[in-house]
């Protein structure tokens, strides 16, 4: 901050008509303004050392039998060859596929809630219901996971107790402890999945539909369901496309609920790539292999994120612009 005091003010009185930060061209050669770089130094140091350097070092060490405390031996592509034969790693991606499909299908609930909410006539009711629907977002994720874990627990768990009370003991399960139900149990954490980004996006895009469009539709006798298919969905298309890609990126990060409730078990039924990566490093001590897994995950995520950005850019110039 003090450095900026030396700023040479005279060069910056730009012609008022132009927007200097966009169009200004330097009228004459400026002296080297070293303080600008000094002001950006903290940013560059932080992201350079704690974001870029680790990413590059993971790629580098993935070609080694990496032993952080002693000498590491180069292995070439051996870690990646191991990865291709790692059954647990690939089955963890199959779980991710299931998680992704489930989370997209589960959008039915936020979509339904948004449609119902937008149909309420009273604005006060809309506000109150919206608030009640999104309150679960405010709770820390670990609390949600632990409370659901309590629901699932085999003996005193609320679900099994309820089944017992209803005389349906035959349906009681060790929900997170059996391979057949564990993954589905994890996915039901947070049911009905309304408190989250999809709901906020659905609701705000429904709110942004111009009233003239809806009035015109009403005059033409378009019913509520027809309106959903013919107006709401097409106008939400670009948003939904973005949500799909965000769900892909989000799914790749999935792991924390699995760690808290099942730790990837039973028998790797709920294993996901992040947990596999951590286990390989912290339990197996195979840091080089873990770095290879980390690099693979990193490249997959970057690829999908790049798609998000491209879709977003195209979406905002065409469909959004057209809709408004």
């Amino acid at each position: 901050m003090l450095i900026l005091v030396t700023l040479d003010t005279s060069t910056h009185v730009a012609p008022p008509a132009a927007r200097p930060n966009r169009t200004e061209r330097t009228p004459r050669k400026r002296s080297f303004r070293w303080w600008i770089y000094l002001a950006l130094l903290p940013l560059a140091a932080v992201i350079g050392y704690f974001a870029y350097y680790p990413a590059v070092s993971a790629i580098f060490w993935s070609f080694f039998h990496w032993q952080p405390a002693s000498t590491s031996t180069p292995l070439g592509f051996a870690n990646y060859v191991t990865m291709f034969h790692d059954q647990i790693w690939w089955s963890s991606f199959r779980n991710l596929g299931f998680i992704f499909i489930f989370s997209v299908v589960a959008w039915i609930f936020p979509l339904l809630a948004a449609e119902l909410l937008i149909s309420l006539k009273s604005l006060r009711w809309q506000f109150v219901m919206r608030t009640l629907l999104i309150i679960p977002m405010a709770f820390p994720g670990v609390v949600t996971a632990l409370v659901w874990g309590f629901f699932y627990s085999p003996n005193d768990g609320v679900i099994n107790q309820t089944l017992k009370a209803l005389g349906l003991e035959a349906f009681a399960h060790n929900w997170t402890g059996e391979a057949s139900t564990a993954l589905l149990s994890l996915l039901f954490v947070g049911f009905p999945f309304i408190a989250g980004l999809p709901f906020l996006i659905f609701y705000s895009s429904l709110q942004n539909i111009p009233t003239e469009v809806l009035e015109a539709a009403q005059l033409d006798g378009v019913g509520r369901f027809a309106r959903f298919w013919q107006i709401d969905l097409p106008l939400m298309a670009s948003q939904v496309r973005i949500l799909v890609f965000l769900a892909v990126v989000g799914t790749l990060q999935y792991g924390f609920v699995a760690y808290v409730l099942t730790a990837g078990g039973p028998d790797n039924a709920t294993m996901v790539p992040i947990l596999r990566m951590i286990n390989v490093a912290f339990q197996g001590g195979d840091w080089g292999y873990s770095a290879a897994l980390s690099t693979t995950l990193f490249i997959i995520t970057i690829a999908f994120s790049a798609v998000v950005v491209l879709v977003r850019r195209r979406g905002s110039t065409t469909s959004d612009g057209g809709a408004m």
Partner: protein, 277 residues
């Protein structure tokens, strides 16, 4: 007549459905509140109903164990927020208001990081911290939150400052304001909403992050809320009242922030989406 009568009933049906949906969503949290006042015996008698007397002592039991986690989390969050806001506001201001060689490159380097989730760096960053001898310190917690926060912060602040009319800066300059003066007296006061949003995103990030504190902290007195609660659960597995009271205590600060500042919170949730900028 028929129309007049069918309208309200349709609205009533809508309201009922929405109330049911909201109730299902809130049920686990209501259950948590109700159970937090019970003894194990009361819980065994009826696990849904409120039963008297209410056992407030569950909260003091839980508080003694959870409070250190809350203080740690708050301390780490405040430290991260200060660092993020100082670094990102200077960088955002300079990137938005000055032209210089390498400007596009530096901003591009920040934008690329928006697409990289922190989890991808978990393993190498852990080794770096271990080599620096920082495991089991507050600093090791602050570093990744700061590194992640300055990325989003710089982008949000730069976009915000670009949106401030140039006329305001021109007027300040004619009055003889230096760059530092404009940063302090023009840009910072106008940027308070976006600074608040960044602070809230950071609080929520620190409160919810799990794997990093799990791996770098083994000293229980330094644990943050998410990992601390998991440990706390292990300690109180058979004592449902204090267990739920502890969960509730750990949630309350975040819920309170969300309730009073939900506008900025939601702006943060939607602004934190990659590709939004």
């Amino acid at each position: 007549m028929t129309i007049a009568r069918s309208r309200p009933t349709r609205q009533v049906r809508l309201k009922t459905t929405l109330i049911v949906l909201a109730a299902v969503g809130l049920a686990p949290y209501l259950f948590m509140v109700v159970t937090s006042f019970k003894t194990n015996q009361q819980f065994a008698d009826s696990f849904w109903q409120i039963s008297f007397p209410l056992h407030f002592e569950n909260y003091s039991v839980a508080w003694n164990q959870v409070a250190p986690y809350l203080f740690n989390t708050a301390f780490v969050a405040v430290l991260s927020i200060v660092l993020i806001l100082v670094i990102a506001s200077i960088a955002g201001f300079v990137l938005a208001r000055y032209r210089f060689a390498g400007r596009a490159f530096i901003y591009g380097a920040v934008l690329v990081l928006m697409m990289v989730p922190g989890l991808a760096n978990l393993i190498p960053l852990f080794i770096i911290m271990k080599d620096l001898g920082l495991l089991n310190t507050y600093i090791v917690l602050v570093i990744p939150y700061t590194a992640g926060g300055v990325v989003l912060g710089t982008i949000l602040i730069r976009n915000f400052v670009e949106g401030i009319p140039q006329a305001i800066f021109d007027a300040a300059r004619i009055d003889g304001a230096s760059g530092a003066r404009m940063y302090r007296s023009v840009m910072l006061p106008l940027s308070l909403p976006v600074l608040g949003t960044i602070a809230l995103i950071t609080v929520s990030e620190v409160w919810n992050d799990f794997f990093w504190p799990l791996l770098v902290i083994s000293d229980n007195s330094l644990r943050t809320v998410s990992v601390g609660l998991q440990f706390f659960q292990g300690q109180n597995v058979t004592d449902y009242g204090p267990l739920m009271a502890g969960y509730l205590i750990a949630s309350l600060p975040l819920v309170a922030l969300f309730t009073f500042l939900s506008k900025y919170f939601l702006a943060g949730v939607q602004g934190g989406v990659p590709g939004a900028h």
